[in-house]
Structures are given as structure tokens and as C-alpha cells.
């Protein structure tokens, strides 16, 4: 029921099983009215279980939701924010990276630039978008568009959903590290308000490359981490099975990131995750963005606001 036609995630299995049981009984109900009480009981049980499961998601469960194949991606949000959005393409130097989407659009009363990483939905798209991992040219395309927005005084929204930068040979040859570093360098000083929303995976330097912003929002079930939990498990535990431990230790959830002072706010998702209602999560996200654009609009010094935020991050004994 909750997951519609989608196969259940691992932690949703008890729910799915109960649901199967209920449906079986309901099919027998016409010929056996005595089942009614049992069915009602099971429905109650189902609702309790649902609240309990979704109210107690572990970090690894949220990771599964963040990576859900039906989770809405950047283009899904753009289409819902403004069906007439105009896409900008290319780094002007020979490459148009489909893993980085840039568009001009109206968001409420605002005219904005949105830049976001894009995972692909079907196999072909996934390959084109390199599973949401931009090439250096993608980060450079983003920067070109950031500069465009700054010139025309357009606020910038970045939508983040990437496992990270791509560990590939061409990416290294084209100086991926510099591409990320240079974006950070330039983002620090852009003269327009910038808001980022982590839609799904906020993976490492690849996410940060468009994430040095005035306001950082996370969807309730999104994650943000310095390295993928799998990478962390295999390096620190030397075991790919320790993903859950890595998820817990690294504090990757929206709430933990908020508690650490990294992000500003959490955007609530439909029960069970954003994939249950694309229109709703797009609307909610838009409202959050507009709310925070309004807030940033009254900031005196938008650059100072941004750099101060990051200047303070760190935990040490002096």
C-alpha cells in the first residue's frame, strides 16, 4: 500500500508482508464475513507498524530511501517548479555534461538559476548521466552558469543528488580536483544569494562542488557525507559488510547534519519517502526555497553571510 507498485525496501518488508496478509483475507471476506474483525485488527496493526517503522528509520534505511530508483531527480523538480524552464548547456570548451543540469526559470515571483546533479532514470539515461557523477566539465559548466546568474543578479539554487565525483581516468586527466576546488573558490565570493537542497545523496566533494551556499536544506531522507558509507566501511573496517556501522558512525542523516550545524533546515517528505508523491515534494521544496530566498533577501552582505557560515565550521581544542 505505502509503496504502491514499487518493490519494498528491506526495512519495509514487514509492512509489505502484513499488507499481503491483509489483501489475502480481504479477498476471502465476501465468502467469509467472519474475517472482518481480524482484518480490522490487522489494519490497526499495520498502521502501528508503519508509524513505528517510518518513525524509527536507521541511517541505512534513509540511505536506501535516498537512493530509491523512483525518487524524484533534479529534472523532475525543474519540470514541476516551472514547466517553461529554459535549459542552458555546455562548458563552452567542448563538453556538455548531462550529469549537471542548468536552467533558468521562475520560482514563485523569483527569477532564478537552478543547477543540479542529475541521475538517470532508465539505463540509457543512467549511462549518459554517469549515475549522477559529473565529470570535471560538469562542475565547470555549473560555474559558467553561476557566473551568468551573478552577472544578472539572479539567485542560485543548487539541487544535490550525487554519489560523488567520478573516479575515472579522464576525470583525473581533466583535473577533477581543480574543478571542485575552483568551484569552492568562486562560490565563496558570488554576489547573489545561493541556496542548496540535498535531494538524495550528498556525496563528498562532488556534492560540495555546488554546495558552498548561504543556506543548505536537506530532504528528510537525504544523506550528506564525506565519503560513501561503502567507501568508509571498506577503508576503516576493511569490510564491505560494515555499511550500517559506517552510516551510524559518520552521522549522515538530515537530523544529524542539522545537529552538527552543517545544514539549516530539513524538508519533510511524504510518509515513506519522496518517491510516493513527486508533486507534493516538489511543492514543499519550492515553498522552502522561497521561504529561505525571502530570508536571504534581507541579508546585508550575502558574501559575508556565506563565508562566515563556513569559516565557523570545525571542532577542535584551542
Amino acid at each position: 500500500m505505502t509503496t504502491g507498485k514499487l518493490p519494498p525496501l528491506e526495512f519495509e518488508l514487514p509492512l509489505a508482508n502484513l499488507n499481503t496478509q491483509i489483501e489475502a483475507l480481504e479477498r476471502q471476506l465476501p465468502s467469509n464475513p467472519a474475517l472482518e474483525q481480524e482484518i480490522l485488527e490487522l489494519h490497526k496493526q499495520y498502521d502501528n507498524l508503519k508509524r513505528s517503522i517510518y518513525g524509527n528509520l536507521r541511517a541505512i534505511d534513509r540511505l536506501a530511501i535516498a537512493r530509491h530508483p523512483q525518487r524524484p531527480y533534479t529534472r523532475d523538480y525543474l519540470d514541476r517548479f516551472d514547466p517553461n524552464w529554459i535549459e542552458l548547456h555546455g562548458d563552452r570548451h567542448g563538453v556538455d555534461d548531462p550529469a549537471m543540469v542548468c536552467g533558468l526559470l521562475k520560482l514563485g515571483n523569483y527569477r532564478v538559476l537552478i543547477v543540479g546533479t542529475q541521475k538517470g532514470r532508465n539505463i540509457r539515461e543512467k549511462q549518459l548521466c554517469n549515475f549522477g557523477m559529473p565529470q570535471p566539465e560538469g562542475y565547470r559548466k555549473a560555474l559558467r552558469c553561476f557566473k551568468h546568474a551573478e552577472k544578472f543578479n539572479l539567485p542560485i539554487i543548487t539541487l544535490i543528488d550525487t554519489p560523488g565525483a567520478y573516479p575515472g581516468m579522464a576525470a583525473e586527466e581533466h583535473n577533477q580536483a581543480q574543478a571542485i576546488a575552483y568551484n569552492l573558490f568562486e562560490l565563496a565570493n558570488l554576489k547573489v544569494p545561493i541556496i542548496s537542497v540535498i535531494l538524495g545523496e550528498g556525496g563528498s566533494g562532488g556534492a560540495l562542488a555546488i554546495g558552498l551556499t548561504n543556506t543548505i536544506l536537506m530532504l528528510e531522507n537525504s544523506v550528506y557525507s564525506v565519503i560513501s558509507p561503502e567507501g568508509c566501511a571498506s577503508i576503516l573496517w576493511r569490510s564491505p559488510t560494515k555499511v550500517q556501522e559506517a552510516c551510524e558512525s559518520m552521522k549522515i542523516t538530515a537530523q544529524e547534519n542539522k545537529d552538527l550545524g552543517i545544514i539549516d533546515d530539513i524538508i519533510e517528505e511524504p510518509l515513506g519517502g519522496a518517491h510516493h508523491n513527486w508533486n507534493l515534494i516538489a511543492k514543499t521544496t519550492q515553498n522552502y526555497i522561497i521561504k529561505y530566498l525571502d530570508k536571504l533577501n534581507i541579508e546585508n552582505d550575502i558574501v559575508e553571510h556565506r563565508t562566515r557560515k563556513f569559516r565557523k565550521i570545525g571542532c577542535f581544542k584551542d
Binding site: G168, A181, I227, S249, K251
Partner: protein, 305 residues
């Protein structure tokens, strides 16, 4: 141990080593080392006198932050800054050991308090800010302390209008500080943007090895980027890439020479020529606004904390 004691101690040890004649096996191993690259058996004292560069094949051995500082800065000119900044454990991180235990271990292994030493000095007479990372401490990983010390030395360079030299050596971000370590990329890069706007020269020196979060922030943002011969430098590690693309990478992949050929760095300079090259570069950029104020630098070394 403070830096002065360290430099003094080392001088004494060298003299002792020279005085000895008959060696036990253990002493023999401590005195001789086989070159990692050409396998030549080298006398450790010779190697040290040659700045840890193999005299035969010119392989550049890793050297620590203190050696770096001794090599680059004029004698007695280095004044350490922020020596007391040390890590805390914000996430109470525990993998197979606790982060706290790992920090102790790193300290015992390297004798250092963190993976970086920062300070002011003169380099062939030119006042400068200098930071040197140490791979021997926690793989040179960048957590809050490295990020903060880098940021503070950038800010000092800005305030004092001094050219900045950062010598990098790092495996990347320090996972044990989670997202906080990722944020150090942002913090240091933002600080460098301010330095840039002040038109202060920043020379980044990349040494074996420099990877991950450090290359994806301050290390790749130098006005001038210098690498040591043979140093391996990149974002993702070679092994991860080979697993991803399922093919062998070329032998010179991610070496300093590869980066030079691929337009990522300005020059590859052998260790012995580094001080002179940096001094020349400072001189070539010392026009008008870039002129350092002489009063900015103390004439005698500050007390090292």
C-alpha cells in the same frame, strides 16, 4: 618537544651516528636503507644530507613537516603559529578503534600534534607564511584542525601581506570527523578567495602523496603550483579508479610529470632547487601591492609554543 629542541636534538644524533664505528644488526638496519625505486642500498646519513633524495635514481623519499621547514626556511627564522590547536572527537567516532585512540597513536608515531605545522619564516631572505603537512601523522588527513590551521595561516598572510607557501602531503579528508572534515574544503577554499582578492602570492607545493579533499581544495588553488619529481597527486586513488573502470592505468598516471604534461601544474622542481625557485618566484611577484611590509616579520624567532 618544541621545534628548537627538535632541531638541536637532531644535530646531536647526527654527530653521534658519525662517531660510532662498530654496528649491531639493528644499528646496521637503522643506518642503511634500500631505495624504494632503484633498490640501491643507501647510507641513511648520506640520504639525509641529500635531502632524502636517492643520489642514484633521484627518487624523492617522503619527508616530514619539520624536515620541510628546516629545508625551506632560513636558519632560525621559523616561528610556529597555532601550535596548540588539537583535535577533539565531535562524532565520538569508533571504527575498529576509537578516534581518540587513533589520535594518540598518530601522535606517538610521528611526535607531532597534528598533520600540519604552520608559521612565519624567511626564505632566502624573503618573509613568508609557510605551512607543511606531514603524511606521517594520520596519513596527512585533513580534519578540523588541519582546516583551521590552513585557514588561519591564510588569514595571517592576508593581514600581514606575506606570500604564502603550503606544502601538501595528504591522503584526503579525515573520515573520523565525518561531514566536518568535508567542510574544511569549503573553509580553506573560501579563505583563499579572500587572499586572492588581496593579490597575495600563494605557492602550492605538492609532494608524495597528495590526494582527495586536499587536492580538491587549497592544494590545487595555488597561483603557482609546484610538484616534486615522482610525487603522486590526484583526486581519486589509483586503486579505486582501476576498480571502477576495470582496466590498468598507465604507469605514470597521477605522477607529477603526468600532471605537468596534462596542464595541471606549473612545474616539477627537484627538492634541492625548491628554496631557490620559491625565492625567485617571490621576487618576481614582489611589485607594489605585493610588497611585504618588513615590520610584519619579527626579526628573531618567536617562542615556539
Amino acid at each position: 618537544m618544541d621545534l628548537k629542541d627538535w632541531f638541536a636534538n637532531r644535530k646531536k644524533n647526527n654527530e653521534t651516528a658519525q662517531a660510532k664505528q662498530i654496528l649491531s644488526t639493528e644499528e646496521y638496519c637503522a643506518l642503511w636503507i634500500s631505495c624504494f625505486q632503484c633498490r640501491e642500498l643507501l647510507y641513511t646519513r648520506d640520504l639525509r644530507q641529500n635531502l632524502q633524495v636517492c643520489p642514484k635514481c633521484h627518487y624523492h623519499f617522503r619527508i616530514g613537516a619539520l624536515d620541510r621547514i628546516e629545508h625551506l626556511s632560513d636558519a632560525n627564522s621559523f616561528c610556529e603559529t597555532e601550535a596548540n590547536l588539537i583535535s577533539s572527537d565531535p562524532l565520538k567516532f569508533f571504527d575498529t578503534l576509537s578516534y581518540e585512540d587513533r589520535l594518540k597513536e598518530a601522535n606517538q608515531k610521528s611526535g607531532l600534534k597534528e598533520a600540519i605545522i604552520t608559521g612565519t619564516c624567511t626564505i632566502q631572505g624573503h618573509p613568508a607564511c609557510l605551512a607543511a603537512m606531514d603524511f606521517g601523522y594520520f596519513g596527512g588527513s585533513m580534519g578540523s584542525v588541519v582546516g583551521e590551521k590552513i585557514t588561519r595561516i591564510i588569514e595571517l598572510a592576508c593581514d600581514q601581506r606575506l606570500p604564502l607557501i603550503i606544502i601538501s602531503s595528504s591522503g584526503g579528508a579525515r573520515m573520523q570527523e565525518g561531514i566536518l572534515s568535508l567542510m574544511q574544503l569549503a573553509k580553506t577554499s573560501a579563505a583563499l578567495k579572500k587572499l586572492h582578492d588581496c593579490a597575495i602570492l600563494y605557492i602550492s607545493v605538492l609532494t608524495e602523496p597528495t590526494f582527495g579533499g586536499v587536492t580538491a581544495s587549497f592544494a590545487m588553488l595555488g597561483d603557482i603550483i609546484i610538484a616534486e619529481p615522482g610525487a603522486r597527486i590526484g583526486f581519486a586513488g589509483r586503486r579505486v579508479i582501476e576498480q571502477t573502470i576495470r582496466q590498468k592505468l598507465p604507469a605514470d598516471f597521477q605522477t607529477a610529470e603526468y600532471l605537468l604534461k596534462h596542464g595541471q601544474i606549473d612545474m616539477v622542481i627537484e627538492r634541492a632547487k625548491l628554496p631557490q625557485t620559491i625565492a625567485n618566484l617571490i621576487d618576481l611577484h614582489s611589485l607594489d601591492c605585493n610588497q611585504p611590509k618588513p615590520e610584519a616579520i619579527a626579526k628573531t624567532p618567536l617562542k615556539i609554543h
